[in-house]
Symmetry: C3
Subunit: 210 residues, 3 copies
């Protein structure tokens, strides 16, 4: 494994954990039990990729092929319920750390979504959409299961928009002849960078007429 | 393209816009931002067909194959957020116009759903169900994302029932030997006609015991 | 058909009815009309298996291949709305009867889910998950459509956990060389037994830190 692949693998693992933790935190707020927490964390971490794969018939699903991921998440849920109280996740540094990891996950999951969609011969615009779906639909299903309006649809700081911009730059990079892996790294970086900016400076989309 | 095909294509485009607009209106009520509005409008317009296609393995999905549809919807969302206030959609003639277009969409989407299901060798009853699912599940997912009980399940004026009757007449027409296209036109007309009647005369299903 | 197959078929039919009835009861509480009640009962009875089949590409879907099931459910919905008031389902013996049938459904649907997943070359842990998903996701989608937090995720008496234990024992039985059918019967029995115990003695998972 060359250094770039190793770095991407590491980001993938950390970002999956960050995504799963947002599910765990949300599920705990709703007083769910271990099974509920586990299901919600699974859905948050793998839901976006699963919806994408069902749309473009990319089988077998990632988490079925790599069962160390669901097994690892179960361990994560059990540990988090044994050691962490609600307050643990609310400390300033924890919120920031999770936010930054989540931003890299947003970028990377989006970029891999674009790549799979292009491989499945989707058009450029649809591939960008597939990137956005991969990065955001896990959170959408999490919020639906927790009986909330999906956070990503609300006028909070940019989230799906960062994925959109990252995915669009990836397609642009590929069109000017960059290699797959370079475009993926660029897209991940751009999406994560904008997301982190948006998080720290409270950047939102302009308000519509009402 | 012969006149019937052109007419059906025109109905399809107008009805897709009407479906998308019901999503846009609902999402705006919930104060979603552009991304939220776009996702909800996509889901409303393409959700029913996507669920059907995933059930009968009819790939590639319609909106992936025809990416002018998602691109057009994005333009529609941007325009509607720039020019239209909430009040625009509440004027009497707009509600009626959207209602009538939506009724034709209900009929046409239902009828194409039945056709695809029969082609995929589903039984007659299941094909009728697939028609109903095609016509109604976009709205169901829209309401779930907006954190509401699906409107179509509530005892308001007939909606899914119109699709059911249309789909059933289509299967009946095919059984007495009509051509595919005639049966499709008949089914679309019947479903749209009943829906428009129900809308203007407030017709509902009989109340159950409670 | 040998006696075991006949017994399993009978359990399957009774359990499908029990699952559908939990959907009917929930939908009636929300004042849905016939279409709503029918859709929710369908989703409760077939939703778990459908999600599993979409995950492991097991086509055609059960209820599409066997259309006597959706037809039967329509009859069940119509009858239940004609003859039964809300109170009918709340009598002590009815709650118990439905609970016991539901417990056997939980066990059987879970065990068939495990079997299909193993046939589709899923790993052991993922197969156990697929069993749990088969047994519980119908109820999850039912609760989402009724705009509630999924009951199975709440800290009530053991439900998904029973499926988990049943599925795990099934995989264990297969690993020590039992035949498919014996393992399936054992798993169904174990899951149903624990569920019935949990129901009558109010057994829940231990509470997490809060």
């Amino acid at each position: 494994m060359n250094p770039i692949d190793s770095a991407l693998k590491l980001i993938e693992i950390l970002a999956t954990i960050a995504f799963a933790l947002t599910g765990i935190i949300e599920a705990r707020k709703k007083k769910m039990d271990l099974i509920g927490v586990y299901m919600v964390s699974m859905v948050t971490a793998f839901g976006g990729g699963t919806v994408r794969d069902m749309c473009i018939q990319h089988y077998p699903l990632f988490w079925i092929r790599n069962d160390e991921y669901p097994i690892g998440l179960l361990a994560l849920c059990v540990c988090s319920m044994l050691v962490a109280t609600q307050r643990t996740w609310n400390t300033v540094w924890m919120v920031r750390l999770l936010g930054v990891l989540d931003a890299f996950g947003l970028g990377l999951f989006c970029a891999t979504g674009v790549q799979y969609a292009l491989q499945a011969h989707c058009g450029m615009f649809v591939s960008v959409l597939m990137g956005v779906i991969t990065a955001t639909f896990g959170g959408v299903i999490r919020d639906v299961l927790c009986n909330e309006i999906p956070n990503v649809f609300k006028p909070t700081e940019l989230y799906a928009t960062c994925a959109f911009v990252g995915a669009a730059s990836q397609v642009a990079c590929l069109n000017i002849g960059m290699s797959d892996i370079t475009a993926l790294v660029v897209a991940t970086g751009i999406a994560a960078f904008i997301r982190i900016l948006a998080m720290f400076y409270d950047i939102t989309l302009p308000k519509p007429l009402s």
